[in-house]
């Protein structure tokens, strides 16, 4: 085999690797040039975050409008502070909206759903949700039911 054929085959091999990486980036991990668009961060304080995790979904009427950035404990109120980044084009969430933790299906993952308020002002970068609803805890639900409360 001549040097030239070797060079060409190796070149094709490296190109195949590059194409596979591109496939993993675009098709498998859904990385698209569009996903680098602007976002803004808003916060919500929950009594119980249940099973939500960073990178989880934030949705509105079932449509994904952002992702959960981080979850930390507020040491003064002992509540969990969740930061979420919302897509820049969804810039009119009413200021009295509520952040609700819901579960998709019976055993599915938990996500944050924004239930819409009616105020004219909208949430801006760095704002905090006025009202939140924590994760539904089946154990607590059952124990409440059993004790008749």
């Amino acid at each position: 085999m001549t040097q030239r054929t070797t060079d060409i085959t190796v070149g094709l091999f490296m190109l195949a690797g590059l194409a596979a990486l591109l496939f993993l980036a675009l098709q498998v991990s859904g990385l698209s040039p569009k996903s680098a668009k602007s976002t803004y961060t808003i916060y919500a304080d929950f009594n119980d975050t249940g099973g939500i995790t960073p990178r989880g979904r934030v949705s509105m009427a079932g449509v994904t409008v952002g992702t959960i950035d981080s979850i930390s404990l507020n040491k003064e109120t002992f509540q969990a502070r969740v930061a979420m980044s919302i897509h820049g084009d969804v810039d009119n969430i009413p200021a009295d909206s509520a952040a609700v933790i819901r579960t998709s299906g019976l055993l599915g993952e938990q996500y944050i759903d924004i239930s819409i308020g009616g105020e004219m002002d909208s949430l801006k970068e760095g704002d905090t949700f006025y009202s939140t609803q924590s994760a539904m805890n089946i154990e607590r639900l059952i124990s409440n039911f059993a004790s008749g409360k």
Binding site: D7, V10, A20, L24, A25, S29, G30, T53, R57
Partner: protein
Amino acid sequence: MINRIASFGRSGIDLVISFGQAGRFLAGVLSGVPHPATGFPLLMKQLYSVGVLSLAIIVVSGLFIGMVLGLQGYTILSDFGSEAAIGQMIALTLVRELGPVVTALLFAGRAGSALTAEIGLMKATEQLSSMEMMGVDPLRRVIAPRLWAGFIAMPVLAIIFSMVGIWGGMLVGVEWLGVFEGSYWGNMQASVDFWDDVVNGVIKSVVFGFVCAWIAVYQGYDCVPTSAGISSATTKTVVYSSLAVLGLDFVLTAVMFGNF
């Protein structure tokens, strides 16, 4: 009794010495920067024999492992009515773990053993010493291109392995078992992160490629120059590479994905 303790200690000291020699050997190989005009064709030739010729076994294994993952995943997930999650299961398993690890194990068996045997035979037939006699540094001329070729080829092979595996999983899950294609890709894209999952998998395969190639060329260069010596060096290459890959995989997984 004393003799036993002494021999135990000696084998420990030998182990430390061989680690030191392997390190010095690596430094010797990496320090000599080859001239681009002569070094590049040598590297190309090795990339061909180490990378391109390993492609067939990588593609076939990747396809079948992806198909088996699809089949097993479907059986278990359909019990819970969540067979739509099969895409994310296959993709995460392949990209994070099976892609880099299985590729490295196959690479050690297919290419690493060949490297050891080739270099060992060169040593046994005194080609390496005759090169030295002619004033050619065998570390630069023979060892360095092989080490670099393994280092470069391994991540490429692992990426191709993952891609073919995901495609094979789709073949079984979507075409055969009837999972909706939109949810196969959609769930996958929602759960696989490019930097956290894909890039960490590539980093893993870079580490494995380096370790496998290093072990292979060192075992060849260090072997006893007899036919029995070459055969035991080849065995050692495969055994040590596999153990190193599996051990390092645990460490890398704990560092990369262990924070939850």
